[in-house]
Symmetry: C2
């Protein structure tokens, strides 16, 4: 019999308890033993809950109970989760979490403690919600060197972009609908400014390349500057605009990494990923492109990933099957000035001749009812710093928009 | 140090050896110990191979060498593979295989032996080539009840259908190109008649539902009757034609299962899967739809899955981490007469009134230059036997084509 504690009874926490008890019999068969949730930690009272006897408010009760061998942390943030998870691992308990902020900020440290204590620290739910991605990269693609990873990792921004693309809705209006539907927070900045995507691509990059990547090292742009004009030009170029987190292996074990809105071609497996869905493309040297698609958030998908990790932690009790990556100086993360791709640029007050003189051979795009003096074009593949320098050559012109163009 | 033997040095076998030695250092890090391929079994001579000292022609050398703990079977077929794999497992060696025919025919028996001997029998490469699907279903989606699985599981037929859809090429011409490119065998029947897809959906269904499903129990149709007229009507209905293997959980722990060409809607995640790519959609009760996409065949993708399984088998030496399913009477496989879906039907010599009288409310489709007297329509969702009965009501008419319509 394995006893489990769930920290936090919010959306994911209550989903975890729900999925656990709904499928308990099946989970026990898979774990090879009886399972029970002994404690649920929350500061609030849930007197009407069928699980009301399990609620505790003091983490130390859980920490000091030797019967509890697996803890599911679904509080989010760092303030409580970090000390709780750290002390749980140090006490020799396995931890599973859906908390990307925690993993992106403290993953290397927590994995090291787990290894030392011969317990597990699993976090399948931290990226892609219910989409299996962490374990498949770790255990199924291990015969590959991973050349690139690129993902649509945030459902909220993908919903907003889908509304803009499909319904011609402006950013503000689409955001409001996302908020009304509960997809976006009242303060939407973690999503729309790209920070959530950044944490997730950091986790995937650490997993693929074996070294912790801190969010602060990653160039991160959100979608707030994407306009309907950009959407129209993308359409005329046979592309969709998606918020992409991507990481790429470079020579000398360096990596390039970034988060930004990007044009992806209509026939890309990422272009058809709409609404709140997520997709992650992994490019292996042997297997080529593999794509994982599904619901990247939501109560039950995320909870099902947490519960799977609980079962894995129970099965692998007393052996450390955790992934590993090492802490690192961030010197292997290339300066974003050297990031190389094509760009879409929309400009006012520049002649075609001036554009060609600054960028070389470009592909001009068109849209209906474009105002006089507006030009839009796709640049050749060039480095970030060369693109910035070329833009500066368009003296007197106004850069109205710039979005990178990726080739997945 | 773990010593490995590779049985068969054809396309996948030579790829396995290539991927193994290319990434050996990394694989050893992941396996936590040194690795070597000690033997390669093949009846042919490879005197120019850098691995020529490893070749043997007598399986007993491998079987009787206690140093060999993991065997990779990549011969294919049943004649040699079945006795070799069975005796290897009985001798306490773990086996990994890419051989879907073997797993679909003998999986339950071989898994039982593996369990008894406390060794592993892994077969990630048997479905979806380099796409991780077996392990993710087994270890990542285990908190879900799997409601349905549907896949484009055969690259050859998907290539042919893509040529028909994109280039308006007839079946025979598209098949010839596939043969010229090496995607299709001289005798293409295993692919185009659906048998390969059938084996793969049997494996996935056994994994999802815990009981062996024998290919003989599965209604299987290929793509040889699909015409360009069908492709045009599909297009007018906003659909693509794909060869689908699908299995669905029904009441009372029964399953429905079948292999057939099907209309899928253009906005389905399966519709955009082109050329030799495969995709598998798994519908879980908690996680919703999850799709796995990638190259379903080919030397290096398949080899990379074999090599990953080798590493897993080495890591889990002396513990049986194999999946399990039980052998079974096939009584839980529902009669295909009860399979329920909508149908596309193309008919000559029937009036619209007669069609509506036979089928009820249908959606009529159109195509350019349809000859007089031709009708095409989508039926309501109804059982196979009711569809057949309704077709028989169209007395004097000629059924030119019939393709099921799926809703993924």
């Amino acid at each position: 019999m394995a006893k489990i504690a769930v920290l936090g009874y919010g959306v994911v926490g209550s989903g975890t308890v729900e999925v656990f008890f709904k499928n308990k019999e099946n989970l026990e068969k898979k774990a090879g033993q009886e399972l029970d949730i002994k404690y649920i930690l929350d500061v609030r009272d849930f007197d009407d809950s069928p699980y009301k006897d399990k609620f505790v408010k003091d983490f130390d009760i859980i920490l000091n109970d030797p019967e509890v061998t697996v803890i599911a942390e679904v509080i989010g943030g760092l303030k409580f989760s970090y000390p709780y998870v750290k002390s749980a691992l140090e006490a020799g308990k396995s931890v599973v979490t859906s908390n990307k902020e925690l993993v992106a900020a403290k993953g290397a440290e927590l994995l090291t403690i787990a290894k030392e204590k011969n317990v597990n620290f699993f976090f399948e739910a931290s990226v892609g919600g219910g989409i299996p991605i962490i374990k498949p990269i770790h255990t199924c693609l291990e015969a590959n060197e991973i050349d690139e990873i690129a993902g649509i990792l945030n459902g909220t921004t993908n919903f907003i972009l889908t509304k803009m693309i499909r319904d011609g809705m402006g950013f503000d209006e689409a955001l409001k609908i996302a908020q009304d539907l509960g997809y976006a927070e009242r303060d939407p900045s973690a999503d729309v400014d790209g920070h959530d995507t950044c944490r997730k691509i950091c986790i995937l990059a650490a997993l693929a390349y074996g070294k912790h990547v801190y969010p602060e090292s990653v160039h991160t742009e959100g979608i707030t500057k994407v306009t309907l004009e950009d959407v129209e030009y993308a359409d005329s170029g046979g592309c969709k605009i998606k918020l992409i987190g991507c990481a790429k292996r470079e020579e000398g074990n360096d990596i390039s990494i970034g988060v930004f809105p990007a044009f992806v071609k209509d026939d890309s497996q990422l272009a058809g990923v709409n609404d709140v869905f997520n997709a992650i493309l992994v490019r292996g040297d042997a297997t080529g492109d593999v794509v994982f698609y599904g619901k990247g958030a939501g109560k039950l998908p995320t909870a099902s990933a947490v519960v799977s990790d609980i079962v894995s932690a129970v099965k692998h009790d007393k052996t450390s099957r955790s992934l590993t990556w090492t802490d690192s100086e961030q010197s292997f993360v290339r300066d974003f000035d050297d990031f190389t791709c094509a760009d879409y640029i929309r400009v006012k007050g520049a002649s075609k001749e001036a554009v060609v003189a600054a960028f070389g051979k470009v592909e001009f795009l068109s849209r209906k009812n474009a105002p006089a003096g507006e030009l839009a074009f796709i640049t050749p593949v060039m480095s970030e710093k060369d693109t910035v320098a070329a833009c500066e050559k368009l003296i007197g012109a106004d850069i109205l928009g710039r979005i990178r163009v990726l080739d997945y």
